[in-house]
Structure formats: C-alpha cells, structure tokens
Amino acid sequence: MNNQALGVIFGNINEKQIGALTTNRSIASVPFGGRYRLIDFTLSNMSNSGIYNVGVITRSNYQSLMQHVGSGKSWDLSRKIGGLRILPPNLDKVFNTRWEALKNSSHFIRNADERYVVLCDGDVVCNFDFSKALAFHEDRASDITVIYRKKFLGEGNEKNKLCFTIDDDSRVVEAVKSDKAKGMQNVSTYMCIMGREFLLGLLENSEEKNISSLDRDIIMRGVNEYKIYAYEHKGYFASMDSISNYYRHSMEMLDRNKCVMLFDNDGANIYTKVRDSAPCRFSASSAVKNSIIADGCIIKGRVENSILFRGVKVAEDAVVKNSILFQDTEVDDGTFLNCVITDKNVHILESRMLSGHETNPYFISKNSII
C-alpha cells in the first residue's frame, strides 16, 4: 500500500522569516547539519517510506535546489515509474500560500494515480515514517491526517503555527493559531496526508468554497465538515522560522541523542547529494572539541562547539567557536570567530575578530571576503 501515496513538497515556504539564508536559495536548499540541505530530510523520509513519486513545488530562487536534487538519484528517486519532479511556477500566476502553490501544480496531482497525497513543507527537519501515518489515515478513513508534535508554547515562540485540540480517538475538534494557544500544545509539523480525490475536489471547487488558505479555510474551518485526524510525531523535529532558530536547531546537532534520533531512525538514514570530498584532515596543530566536521575539511586551528560543512579550511592559530561555517569557507591565521554563520565560499582573512550572539548570530553572506 506504500506506493499509494504521492509526495508534494513546498520548496519555498516560510522564506521571509529566515531572511539572509534564502537570498540566493530556496528554503529547501538551505544547508543544515554539516553536509545536508533542508530538503534532504523530507526527500529521505518519503523515499524511506516507499513514496517514490514526489513533486517539489518551487516558486523562486530554485536554481540551487534543482542543482542539489538533480535527477533525485541520491534519494533513490530517479525512477522509471514516478520519481522526482520539480514543479516550477507558471509565470502568469505567482503564488504565495501553500494552497495557491497546490492549485498551480494541480495537474501533477490530477495526473497521478496514487490514492493519497502527502504534503510537506520544505524546511522540516525530522526522521519520520510516513508509512505508519498512512496506515493510520487509512484505518480512520480520514479525509485529512495532520501530523503534530507535542510542544510547550511559551511567550513569543512558534508564531502562526496551527495547534490542534484532539479527542480520544485522535480526531481534531478544534484548530487555532499558536498566538491564541499557550502551554503544552499539539503543534502542526506541516506534514499532512489527504486522499488524492478529496484534495482534487477541494482544488477544483476552491472558488465556490472560497478557499485560499490550507490552514484557515480547510483545516481550521473544516473541523466539523471533514474528518480530520491527528497523528503524533514523537522524535526530533525542527522547522526554521528565524535565523536564531536556525542557529539553535543547528547547534542541537551537537547533542548526540538528537543526532541519532534524526540520522538513524531504525535504519532509516538521511541521504544527500554526494560531493566526493576527501576525508577530513586534522593536522598536527588542530584542536577540535564538541564539533561536527564534514569531509573535505582541513583543520589546523582550534574549533569548538561548531559545525563545519564540506571543504572548510581553518588555519593555524585561528579559533572558531559556536559557529556554523558553510561549504568551502576559509578562515585564515589568527582569526577569531564566535557565534558566526558564514554562507558558502566565504573567506575570512588574517587576524579578524568577529562575534555575534547566540540569539543573534553574525551572518556573513555568500562569497564575501572579510
């Protein structure tokens, strides 16, 4: 029954919130965890769950995303039957919401013959088995199954996310936005399952039914009209809604328990495009503590509590602390970095002292020379 689901990924969702990281790329291709891009998690989850027909809806800035996913081979999604498809925008109709994006790509959903559609945001970081959620969806004969996680909502965090009230049978009885919900909540992961015919019906009648938002017009307004059930994701979960959140979630990868939960869930691994870098080289003068170091790095200096992507070079007498250095960043002699995020191919010259704060990391944009 697994191949009865079609995957749809929103490649450009929530981009404004994360600002600088998406100047040159879609949110789905934002680097994460030393060698990954955000979309790797969803593509791997789908592939690991037997979903081999996947469309990625893109709107803007998607060159880097296309380059990254290629034919989908790395995720075993280069398939004769199904496989990975990029769904670029129709230039006449620029869309902003998930619903408009779906309408724009409704041909993809119409032309498929899977029974279900799995919808997922492109910035979701988790290791999730859709096949279990699909079995749940089928068992409840639901119209929509939303996947949620339990989370304590304090002041100011999780803006604009859906929170669900559910009954004993896991049916959603109420859905509200997170600014109206406090305390322990069932918060949407922005992964959900719908019947394909059901979704098509809504898409085709979206004018009559006055639908322009998936959250508001279908889920919040539809709790009585439709059978909406909720399925809990219990493992690690992150989605990127601000640059400080991006930083915080990245640093969580230094916690081995979270890392294991994310990268090896019962043998389900996260795949990414291979770069064929040489192994990481630690020189005689290197001193590395509590850090993730990807292949292709050459470390001569000190690195602490940091995440180094592929091909990063840290010179002797350089100190990198609490920082995230993207692919091919070079840090020269005598330089000190603290709470810095460097985008790809940044070169920080000798004896620079750069520091941000964990709540407001100092971001250096792509190809800069500082």
Partner: protein, 394 residues
C-alpha cells in the same frame, strides 16, 4: 553502437595472501584504504577521469563484496548507456569453465567482451595499486608511436626492483628487454602492470599463448617477453607520480600514512577519487576528543585520542581510548581506555574497554592485524606483530 577508441580490463581477482586476514573475506581490491575508499576506487576513478567509460572488472576470488561495491558503477560515473562498468566473473561455458590460470588467461576467457565492444585499443589494469594517472595521455603516446603495446613504467628503488617486471628501453622509449621479477635486475624501470595493447595484437597473442601448454598465461611472464622476442614494437610510458603497491601489511600501512604526510593528495578537485559511501552524518568530535594529524570521515565519533591515524566511516573511539599510528576500518568500535599502536584493524571489529593492542616493540614492521568482525575482550593484551582473526578464535 558507436565503437570506443579504448576500453579497460581491470584485473581484480587477486587473492592478496600477504594481506592475511584482511583478505579472508574480500578480494584485495575491495580492502578499505585511506579512510573512505577501497583500493579499487583509485583505478576506477582513474578510468573515469581519463574518459575511459567501458571497464570490464575481472573478479574471481571472494567476489561478493567487490561485486556489490561496484554495482552499476554510479559512484565513478561508470553507469553508462553504452559501455560502463561490467563485472566479469569466471563462468561456465559449453566446453566447461575454469578458474583464471593467470592474468592473460583471465582476459582470454573474456575475449567475447573485447569482441563485443571491438575498440581499437585495450587498456589492461590491475586493481591493487594506489595512484592517480591520466590514462588518456598514455593512450595518446601509444597511438602516436604506433606501438603494439605500451607499458607504463615507474622507477623504483634498486633494492625493490626484483619484486617487479623490470625493463630496459632506448631513448625513443622502445623497450629492448623485459624480465619478470628478475633475481638480479638490470635496471630499476619497473612495470606498473598497466598496459595498452592494440586490440587485434592482443587477441592474437592471447590465442597463441593459450595454445602453449607450458605457459603460465601471465602478461609479465609470458605475453610481453614473447612479443619482444617476436619483434613487436613495445614502448615504455614513463610515469612520475605517486604509485604504491599495497600488497603487504606494511605497504598498506605505509600507503595510508603517506596520506598524512601529504605524499599523495586526495583533495584535488580536478582529479577526484570517487567511492561508494553510505549515507552517514559528518564526523563528530566530542568534548574530550582529540584528533591530531589524522584522517577521519563521515559517521565517526571521537571521544578519545587519535594520533597519526586513518579512520574509516563509522568508527567510534570511546573516552580515554588512544589510537596511534593505526589504520581503523569501517564500523569498528574502540572501547573506553583501550590503547592501539601500529595496528591495522579491519571492518566491524569491537575492541573491548581497556584492551591494549601492540606493545613497546610495535613498529611499522611489527604491525598488529585484527581481522574483520573480531571481538577483542576487555582488558586483553595483544602482542605487536600478531594477527587475530575469526578463524583463530575458534
């Protein structure tokens, strides 16, 4: 199908007996090397980087892991619609099948492959050397000189010369003599086991050689000397880069250490070495971890100390453990406070807490070898130079 100028035949059936327990379950070309590679990656990457996209890999001894590793050849960009990489095991034909008698016989038995692709030239390679070489340059020379056969040659130290095929050649690189493993070598020009033949010449020679019942059907021992005797034009192609035969425990260890001394550069974006790798997160160095002058790769977790060592994928070094001057292959777990020096530890080994591998006599000539899947008990002491494998356990 468009014919290719040159296809490659890669001899990967070597048993590698001098690697002892490292090759009890895998063929020598599939032995791990240099943190994230296997020995055969170098030859396959050379082919790919030289534009040679049809490669027959001749396997024989312990082929399973090697076959699985090569697969459809995607990691080396050798999954091609026309050509690509093909594993060629010995097979049972109508007249019966047999194991390959020698290197030349291995090619002889797969002559149908040569005929199928019908290229003008055939490159013969062996899958057990570490080097980066652009074969297209050698092919150009081979075509320019109109040679029947061109042999890649590297100058080796005099004292090692008797381990190789040794040749003499004139100022035009025309080979004048060739002796396989001579007791008293006349020169130090050693054959690298890399040959380019004109295909028609090769086929002829293989058929002739097969008829000779006294022949050991070997390129170095039979084919090359016979061709010289008959007056064929054999040319030498000089190679000056890094080249290492990793046929012994010491040479395998040395070649790994050469990577740490930057004698061999894996980091050249213009000539990458490709390999098949599992999906693993990047390496993690813990709060008390220390990694000095070492190569480490994806999936490794380092909580102890690693000095002058090469670690493959998914190696864990627990707190307080010290790994020094060692080569640790994939999936091995080194327990707390264990101590390793001058060791080669094969894949999926578990070293118990506090175990000591090697002693004050350890050196590159006294490497301790721990075979695949072995479990070393906590607190065990293993003498330097010993070989521990699963067979010995029983």
């Amino acid at each position: 199908m468009k014919k290719k100028k040159c296809i490659a035949m890669l001899l990967a059936g070597g048993q590698g007996t001098r690697l002892y327990s490292l090759t009890t379950k895998v063929a020598k070309p599939a032995v791990s090397f240099g943190s994230k590679y296997r020995i055969i990656d170098f030859t396959l990457s050379n082919c790919s980087n030289s534009g040679i996209t049809t490669v027959g890999v001749l396997t024989q001894y312990q082929p399973l892991i090697l076959n699985e590793y090569i697969g459809a050849g995607e990691p080396w960009d050798l999954d091609r619609a026309n050509g690509g990489v093909h594993v060629l095991p010995p097979y049972q034909a109508k007249k019966g099948g047999e194991w390959y008698k020698g290197t030349a016989n291995a090619i002889y038995q797969n002559m149908h492959f040569l005929d199928q692709y019908d290229s003008e030239h055939v490159l013969i390679l062996s899958g057990d050397h570490i080097y980066k070489m652009d074969y297209s340059d050698m092919l150009r020379e081979h075509i320019r000189s109109k040679a029947d056969c061109t042999i890649a040659v590297i100058d080796v130290p005099k004292e090692d010369a008797s381990r190789f095929g040794i040749m003499d050649y004139d100022e035009n690189k025309l080979i004048t003599s060739f002796e396989e493993k001579p007791a008293s070598p006349k020169s130090n020009h050693a054959s690298m086991g890399v040959y380019i033949f004109r295909k028609d010449v090769l086929i002829n020679e293989l058929i002739e050689d097969e008829k000779d019942e006294l022949s050991s059907n070997d390129f170095g021992k039979n084919i090359i000397p016979t061709m010289l005797k008959k007056g064929n034009m054999l040319y030498a192609y000089e190679f000056n880069g890094y080249w290492k035969d990793v046929g012994t425990v010491t040479s395998l260890w040395e070649a790994n250490m050469d990577l740490l001394e930057s004698r061999f550069d894996l980091n050249d974006p213009a000539f990458k070495i490709y390999s098949r790798n599992e999906a693993l997160p990047p390496c993690f160095v813990g709060e008390e971890g220390e990694v000095v002058n070492s190569l480490v790769t994806s999936g490794c977790e380092i909580y102890g100390t690693v000095i002058n060592s090469v670690l493959s994928e998914k190696v864990t070094v627990a707190k307080g453990a010290v790994v020094e001057n060692s080569v640790i292959m994939r999936g091995t777990i080194i327990g707390e406070n264990a101590n390793l020096s001058y060791a080669i530890v094969d894949e999926d080994v578990t070293i118990g807490d506090g175990a000591v591998i090697g002693d004050e006599m350890s050196s590159k000539h006294k490497i301790t070898l721990i075979g695949r899947d072995v479990e070393i008990e906590s607190g065990a002491e293993i003498e330097s130079g010993s070989i521990v494998d699963q067979e010995a356990d029983k």
